[in-house]
């Protein structure tokens, strides 16, 4: 076992993690721990662009951007946070340009901008050109540029280190800690994949930037490595997760594969058609048609297929038509995604429409934070020295549905804020002692898993989980399907206890890690479904067929889910309740055999915009 001490430890080296590292490393002794080489992070898969009201090509301002974000999120957005993001977007884009990001240019040599789903002029009049882009590899360029600047600043990386535990000076998991008490994050425990050695990192500030959890679904645009590690660790250590029921399904995944085809394809003029060749989005969103927010487009597509107008031999997808665009235009603006269609489906997008179907894409929910990226342990109290940014966090700027491009914005704006806040806090704070046995739990867990006799296969359990999530908790959800899904997950949680690994070695044991990741996935899927069951309304990415309308009276609040021990029935029952805002709509408790999942809520911050019906 090795021991390290840093002022700031950043967990995750994707966009948010590296953006935070750039801020923190110039101010404080910083280490970045990442389970992948930084340039392997899934930020690199983002394609379309990053919105900011630069007004380089047409009139625009950040207030319109804020409005679009709030409306796109179906009013579950914290409006103060959205305003910060839209305002700071401009500097975030300019920062990246100055760092060297090769944006596409206008004829005058300024950063070029294009249309994107849900981004409109003057509160919904028409689509606006707001997305700054670098062909269809904006995310790739952001990731590369941030890594390049980390090289420039000599940021210290621990690559292929898996963080497996978060150390906090109070045990939050039992729910005993009263509101208002100071709780500090003191370190993390990491596993060096190459050697199998355990490393303990003591830190004044810890930033979680571990990304999403798309692998709870079968059809997903997410990487194999996006297994919700950060979220699950927080949940297991007693922190809440916010708005987990809201998962975005990106409309245009390659049918059957889930590989992302950017919204930019529609921004550049691509059209969605059903088997009759009809441009069906005209019926669902008459004003902005194919550029409606993702939840609406995804649902419309699923509905077309459900009503028998799907294309293909099984009528199970719709078509993205680019054939009316000039090949030269496609090559200039969308080279990568057309190559995906060619490589994986053998389809030539110049002449043939591309089969597409919604694919699980982005977790709107995550670890709750305030606008300075500090992690909340209930609706008000922060955990000192603990920050989160990016997809793992829920600020919440995305509400119930994220607008396209706002994720790249989120990582840059809140990554920067997290890095700054973490470094500033580290300058004022002292190291807190770590418990003597800080790594014990992790070591025991690994040892137990490694030596467990032959049992269930990791892949069988994972496959079953992904299949039930796809079948029961996808675009359309009902009480029945969600209950089925939860029952399945409970069975799988039981089976997980018998999961064994074949590779018993210490070096580069990816078999072992897949087993650990499966545990994270199960926990995240479980709270996602429980939160979805509790929200008996339809809003943004969460659509309940049995409750098809938005219910602002009862559900205009963020869901908070907590995991608590079962035995808290008598003595600490009150303190459990004290963590949670009493509200009839958010008073659900799901009991499992060794723990329970408790639902709470947090108010939505409203500043300028009154909730309205969402029409496009």
């Amino acid at each position: 076992m090795q021991f390290h001490q840093y002022d700031v430890v950043i967990v995750g080296a994707g966009g948010a993690g590296m953006r935070a590292a750039l801020e923190a490393s110039s101010e404080a002794r910083t280490a970045v721990i990442s389970k992948l080489y930084p340039t392997r992070s899934h930020t690199g898969a983002a394609q379309g662009g990053m919105c900011a009201a630069l007004a380089n090509v047409e009139e625009d301002n950040w207030e319109w951007h804020t409005f679009d974000t709030v409306k796109g999120g179906d009013y579950l957005v914290d409006q103060d946070a959205a305003e910060i993001m839209a305002k700071e977007a401009i500097d975030a884009v300019l920062d990246l340009e100055r760092m060297g990001l090769p944006f596409n240019r206008t004829p005058e040599g300024k950063i070029d901008q294009r249309r994107f789903g849900g981004h409109t002029r003057n509160h919904g009049e028409a689509a606006v050109r707001r997305a700054c882009y670098a062909a269809d590899r904006t995310g790739h360029m952001i990731l590369q540029t941030l890594y390049q600047n980390c090289v420039k600043q000599d940021v210290e990386f621990f690559n292929e280190f898996y963080v497996l535990d978060l150390i906090v000076d109070h045990d939050l998991s039992a729910g005993h800690v009263p509101d208002g008490e100071e709780v500090n994050a003191t370190g993390v425990v990491a596993y060096d994949l190459a050697t199998g050695e355990i490393h303990v990192f003591q830190a004044k500030s810890i930033v979680f930037a571990t990304g999403g959890a798309g692998k709870i679904f079968k059809t997903t645009s997410n990487a194999h490595t996006l297994t919700g590690d950060g979220m699950a660790l927080a949940l297991r250590r007693g922190l809440p997760l916010e708005d987990m029921e809201f998962f975005q399904f990106h409309p245009t995944g390659l049918a059957g594969l889930g590989i992302l085809l950017s919204e930019a394809a529609r921004g550049e003029g691509g059209i969605l058609r059903n088997s009759n060749g009809e441009r069906f989005m005209e019926r669902y969103a008459p004003t902005i048609k194919d550029l409606a927010p993702r939840d609406i487009v995804a649902r419309s597509m699923a509905n077309e297929v459900r009503e028998g107008r799907g294309a293909g031999p099984n009528k199970d997808y719709v078509l993205l038509d680019l054939t009316h665009l000039e090949p030269a235009h496609i090559d200039a603006k969308l080279p990568d995604i057309t190559e995906f269609a060619r490589t994986y489906l053998g389809i030539e997008p110049y002449t043939e429409p591309v089969p597409v179907y919604p694919t699980a894409h982005y977790a709107m929910g995550g670890i709750p934070t305030n606008v300075t990226a500090e992690v909340l342990r209930n609706s008000d109290d922060v955990v000192k020295g603990l920050y989160a940014a990016g997809e793992v966090a829920c600020v919440s700027v995305h509400g119930s549905n994220r607008l396209g491009t706002n994720s790249l914005l989120d990582i840059n704006v809140f990554g920067k804020r997290a890095g700054r806040a973490a470094a500033a806090y580290a300058k004022t704070a002292e190291f807190k002692d770590l418990p003597e046995n800080a790594a014990e739990r992790t070591i025991a867990q690994l040892e137990e898993l490694r030596t467990r006799p032959d049992g269930e296969r990791v892949s069988d359990v994972r496959k079953a989980l992904q299949e039930t999530m796809d079948a029961n908790a996808q675009v359309f959800r009902t009480q029945e399907s969600l209950e089925q899904c939860l029952a399945d997950i409970r069975v799988l949680q039981e089976r997980y206890k018998n999961v064994s690994v074949q590779d018993k070695g210490k070096m580069f044991n990816t078999d072992l890690l897949e087993a650990l990741e499966l545990g994270f996935l199960l926990d995240i899927a479980e709270v996602t479904v429980i939160a979805a069951l509790n929200r008996k309304e339809s809003r943004g990415g969460h659509f309940r067929e049995d409750y098809p309308d938005r219910d602002d009276a009862n559900y205009m609040r963020h869901t908070m889910v907590y995991r608590r021990p079962l035995e808290g029935a008598e003595g600490n029952h009150e303190s459990v309740e004290a963590d949670i805002t009493p509200d009839t709509a958010f008073a659900h408790v799901s009991e499992f055999d060794t723990y329970k999942v408790v639902i709470g809520s947090k108010p939505v911050v409203q500043t300028r915009y009154e909730p309205m019906e969402r029409k496009y």
Binding site: L36, Y37, T39, R40, H42, G44, A45, L94, E97, R98, M99, G100, P102, R105, P107, E108, G109, K110, A134, A135, R137, Q148, N149, V151, K152, A223, H224, T225, G256, L257, L260, S275, G277, A311, G312, P313, N314, L319, T323, E339, F340, T343, Y344, G346, I347, E352, P353, V354, P355, R457, V458, V501, Q502, D503, G505, M507, F508, N509, T510, D511
Partner: protein, 257 residues
């Protein structure tokens, strides 16, 4: 519209909508220093039933998930963007997630080896550190002088186009580890480092070209390139790597004369 629909299902054809399956033999070069094989590499063969839309990565996953959990390889995004799974497939460097099995002649065994020239850690996993060290040496970041502008730097669309090709690099090491010069002793900077230097040398905003050219003028720099075009052929992103290297050479000669 409907006429093209019939053709557009090439990935999943046949009236019943069944994807055709076939049997394939995968030969993987194993290296498990902790096992009884010790420091000896050996070949393992697996017979699998795969489908027309499956990629080499799917075959490796099938082996790992259903057959032999100790098979070790890196992978992440699974669609050719992250650069984790460069490996030597039938003697050619490719990304496992971008190579369809049906394109590889499944009648013969498909051989899979780790990329060459970098120390193997386990099975298909190699130590990438020497590769990234070369990358870091060429100063892969924008170098400018003076104050930052208050808005963006101005760059024309043509100036931006000049280095577009080399911005595509995902640092997968397929090019560098396909280079015979790199195989010898691993001292050559390698195509990937030069490509990333090219990306900045030809960026109109950058002022560090001289320093980068100086670095690459090293005896292990661009002059070791023998224009065998292995790198261009290996690049999963279609970057014209050899051309980029030649352009860097030309820039150096222009500077020297």
């Amino acid at each position: 519209m409907t006429a093209t629909l019939e053709n557009s299902t090439a990935g999943a054809p046949s009236a019943a909508g069944e994807i055709p399956s076939f049997d394939v033999t995968i030969k993987v070069r194993r290296y498990l220093p902790e096992s009884s094989h010790g420091d000896e590499a050996y070949w393992d063969e697996y017979k699998l039933t795969m489908y027309g839309t499956d990629r080499v990565l799917d075959a490796l996953h099938k082996i790992k998930w259903e057959n032999d959990g100790s098979l070790t390889f890196r992978r992440s995004c699974a669609h050719g963007i992250c650069g984790s799974d460069a490996m030597r497939i039938n003697g050619r460097n490719r990304l496992a997630c971008k190579t369809l099995l049906k394109d590889l002649n499944p009648n013969k065994p498909i051989t899979i080896e780790p990329i060459k020239g970098l120390p193997v850690i386990k099975d298909l996993v190699v130590d990438m550190e020497p590769f990234f060290a070369s990358y870091r040496e060429i100063m892969p970041f924008l170098i400018t002088s003076g104050n930052q502008p208050s808005r963006e730097r101005i760059q024309s669309a043509e100036q931006r186009e000049r280095f577009d090709d080399t911005t595509k690099c995902i640092l997968c090491a397929a090019c560098t580890s396909s280079c015979p010069v790199f195989w010898t002793d691993g001292q050559y900077f390698g195509p990937a480092a030069i490509v990333n230097a090219h990306r900045f040398i030809f960026d109109s905003r950058d002022e560090g070209a001289t320093q980068r050219l100086e670095v690459l003028n090293d005896k292990e720099g661009v002059w070791r390139c023998r224009t065998t075009f292995n790198c261009t052929e290996a690049c999963p992103r279609g970057i014209e790597v050899t051309k980029a290297i030649q352009e860097v050479k030309q820039a150096m000669i222009r500077r020297a004369i």
